[in-house]
């Protein structure tokens, strides 16, 4: 099995950064109380990052992907996670064949 040096470095970097975020709370447990706008901004980090990652695929690849993304978003509020993924994948395959 192959192990690329740059890939290994990337994995180790991601591991160190992740571990840092996991233990950092231990040292600020008494001091970190966010309120108001600061808390809203902090809470917005996960959705903001997730959306930024997929926006090019969802919005600028083509009509099939854009429509499938819209269908997936509707399903996401009604189905569990795996059902949502299934709807999205089936929708994109169907639309790519149609368009």
């Amino acid at each position: 099995m192959s192990l690329d040096t740059t890939t290994l470095l990337a994995i180790l970097t991601m591991a160190v950064v992740t571990y840092f975020t996991r233990i950092a709370g231990l040292f600020v447990a008494d001091r970190l109380v966010l309120t108001g706008r600061a808390k809203a901004a902090f809470d917005a980090i996960p959705p903001a990052v997730l959306v930024a990652v997929i926006a090019p695929t969802a919005l600028t690849t083509g009509w099939a992907e854009a429509i499938a993304a819209a269908i997936t978003a509707v399903a996401a509020f009604r189905l569990p996670l795996l059902g949502t993924v299934a709807v999205g994948v089936i929708a994109v395959v169907a639309l790519r064949n149609l368009i």
Binding site: M1, S2, L3, D4, T6, T7, L8, L9, A10, I11, L12, M14, V17, T18, Y19, T21, R22, A24, G25, L26, V28, A29, L32, T35, G36, A38, K39, A40, A41, D43, A44, I45, P46, P47, A48, V49, V51, A52, V53, I54, A55, P56, T57, T60, E65, A68, A69, A73, F77, P80, L81, L82, T84, V85, V87, G88, V89, I90, V92, V93
Partner: protein, 240 residues
């Protein structure tokens, strides 16, 4: 179970009861995570990662969101700084989770440092729930941690090995699976006004930057724009 009952049945070793509670709480989560791990491994291998690289990433990083984000925009050679920044942004929530949980865990400093390697959204949420009634013990925490960690590492490894037989991911729509998964995850953050503004601004800025400037800048710029939008959209004196 109430605290009084716990004391009454104290002839049962405490750690064994704690382990059983941890296993019981984490079981449904592990079942739900299994196909997600398979999917991660399959798409990672379709993007050119070897099974060994997938094993290492799942075992050492052990953070679904960050791993999905890394794989979604995976290129060779891996852009280390970009991946580090995206990982930091996605996992920044861990800081708040750890800060909130720390006063509720009954572990030494060293034990906690080891325990928090396994900090996940799921283990954190279950522990916070348990902490409403009793302190979170090491036995409870590590029972959950071992199950979730082996489940994630094994399922993504199996996915990576099977994935190399699947062939072209576009043919079966597997390349879109992450997009759909992320949409599902984002929906989990609710439909409040602030969240909707965040999502719209982040998506718009990321798409524009990707179109006019190119990868990987869309991740950081879209995310920062979305976070700034949340700050502005939130009421100034929001409580909690």
């Amino acid at each position: 179970m109430s605290r009084a009952m716990d004391q009454a049945s104290s002839f049962v070793p405490t750690y064994r009861r704690e382990i059983r509670a941890g296993l019981r709480d984490i079981a449904p989560v592990a079942v739900a995570a299994l196909p997600i791990g398979l999917l991660f491994g399959a798409v990672a291998s379709a993007k050119g990662m070897s099974p060994l690289e997938v094993i290492l990433m799942s075992a050492l990083v052990f953070a679904g969101g960050a791993q999905f984000a890394a794989i979604e925009s995976w290129i060779q050679p891996a852009p280390i700084l970009t991946l580090a920044f995206a990982t930091l942004l996605i996992n920044a929530r861990h800081v708040l989770m750890g800060a909130s949980l720390t006063p509720k865990v009954r572990m030494s400093r060293v034990q906690t440092l080891l325990a928090y390697f396994f900090l996940t959204d799921e283990a954190w949420a279950l522990s916070e729930r348990r902490a409403l009634e009793r302190p979170v013990t090491g036995a409870y925490w590590f029972a959950m941690a071992v199950v979730l960690w082996s489940n994630w590492t094994l399922s993504s490894t199996i996915g990576a090995i099977l994935g190399s037989f699947l062939g072209d991911p576009e043919r079966i729509g597997a390349d879109f699976a992450f997009t759909a998964l992320f949409i599902g995850l984002v929906a989990g953050f609710g439909r409040s006004r602030v969240t909707l503004v965040t999502v719209a601004v982040s998506a718009g800025v990321a798409a524009l930057v990707h179109y006019f400037i190119g990868a990987p800048w869309h991740v950081a710029s879209g995310a920062l724009a979305g976070i700034a939008a949340a700050y502005i959209a939130a009421p100034e004196e929001a409580r909690s």
